[in-house]
Amino acid sequence: MSVEAQSREVTAAETQTVAAARRLRDAQTVFIGVGRPSTAAILARMVHNPDLVLVYESGTIGAKPFHIPLSIGDGELAETADAIVSVTEMFNYWIGAGRIDVAFLGAAQIDRYANLNTTVIGDYAQPKTRLPGAGGAPEIASSCGEVIVIAPHSPRTFVEHLDFRTTVGHGEGNGTRGRCGFTGKGPTAVITDLGTLEPDPDTKELTLVQLHLGVDVDEVQEKTGWRLKVADQIRHTEPPNERELEALRELQSR
């Protein structure tokens, strides 16, 4: 693999996935949906945190998939789980009770306070695009220890105003979560294919803190639908190292 790994350029998607995986280094448990979040969590178990407990909303706790699952209920998740519980128990005893350290969420729209829309584009009654809906996101975001949003960086996704607020990130800014009685910290990072945004400690407004290799601030601003807050000292994402890259490519080739 090593040679092959060298022989190919690192893609933005790979950088994004690795950046997400690294965030799980110190987590005990992670809640994940399908797609890139699932890939990142499996990668983290391979490289950064072998004891990481993967929890899927299908009720599988401690799943150890060898392949990247297509659905959150693939047979391999059930076969490799430490425990399988009903969906009711999952949301009441595990998610709602706040037992999960980190949750990965995606979104079709995200605003400057990391509130998420997965319901509709356009008007609710007459939507331009009907999206899948809430799923587990609202309660996952309110109860899990922290939320990491993984989204493609484009003006269509990073919008000034959500068409529908499906999931509360930081609401109208600092204080909203407290007023709502949420137990979790909410979004602590938004990881895109261009870089990483984190909420400002005081205002909770998303701030660009990290750029992936070869990306500059102007490009990120261009692809963000509001006047982006940028950290004074902007860091560069450490590129995927060989071990991470080999593991990720090997995983995706399974």
Partner: protein, 272 residues
């Protein structure tokens, strides 16, 4: 005691036009064969209830059997959109339907309240979202702490239909693997049908096995492969390729209609 009969007889006896019907199965054990039999028997004006509509309800909505849809996540898991689901909401094709959507936590608690014969369930959630303005949820205060919580109304379908791996001849059912909300759905419903991969002389309790006694089930019908393209853990595998195939096929109304006629409507019932 559940009556063990054929799928077509069970569906004919159980479901009327206009009924509220929950066909549950959370990714795993989705009762496709039973849903297809509903369509073959021409049931209409149904209130279709499912946490995850999945391909089955995409098909049922697309052929026009639904008056209302109650759900919490209408996507093709890991693939993308459900195109018939989108088309009926975005363009009212084949006709307009009513929708009621919740979060997964809300739907799961609604089923649990229904199974407990309670009028509602109390939980945390929905707060601060636009869902509150568009669904049935209400504030309720904890009398001990004063904390503001939310209540969701119990879900009590006229009919619940699930798929399981096994039943015995008395209609006692065993399913294993991801149990979803199937037990709750059956216990919450006025009438119920469980289709099974196989009928056995005696149930042998399995690790992770969930047993539903026959005396809380109306009908049991054998339907081998009845969860395809979903799966029955240990017996069939999830057909992930079909889920990808559906994404392409279902984009086009005519292709969808032709496929449904050829592969569902003009077919014989499984196990009949």
């Amino acid at each position: 005691m559940a009556e063990v009969t054929s799928l077509s007889e069970a569906v004919a006896a159980l479901v009327d036009d206009g009924d509220s019907v929950a066909l549950e199965g959370f990714t795993h054990l989705i009762p496709f064969a039973a849903g297809h039999e509903l369509l073959r028997q021409g049931r209409r004006e149904l209130e279709l209830i499912r946490m995850t509509p999945d391909l089955l309800y995409d098909q049922m909505i697309g052929v026009g059997s639904a008056r209302k849809l109650v759900f919490s996540y209408g996507g093709n898991p890991g693939v993308g959109s459900l195109h018939r689901f989108r088309d009926v909401i975005e363009n009212h094709w084949p006709h307009e339907i009513e929708i009621e959507e919740h979060s997964h936590a809300g739907m799961a608690n609604r089923y649990a309240a229904g199974a407990s014969n309670m009028p509602c369930a109390v939980m945390r959630g929905y707060v601060g979202t636009d869902l509150v303005a568009h669904t049935r949820v209400a504030g309720i205060t904890c009398p001990f702490t004063g904390e503001q919580l939310v209540a969701v109304p119990a879900l009590n379908p006229d009919v619940s239909i699930i798929h399981a791996q096994e039943a015995d001849r008395d209609g006692n059912v065993q399913l294993w693997g991801i149990p979803g909300v199937q037990k709750e759905a059956v216990l919450a419903a006025s009438r119920s049908l469980v289709t099974v991969e196989r009928i056995v002389d005696e149930l042998e309790p399995k690790p992770g096995g969930v047993i539903i006694p026959g005396w809380v089930i109306s009908y049991v019908a054998e339907a081998p492969g009845g969860s395809r393209p979903s799966y029955s853990l240990g017996i069939t595998e999830r057909d992930n390729d079909f889920y990808r195939f559906w994404d392409k096929l279902s984009r086009d109304r005519d292709e969808f209609t032709a496929w449904m006629r050829e592969h569902v409507l003009d077919r014989e019932a499984v196990g009949s």
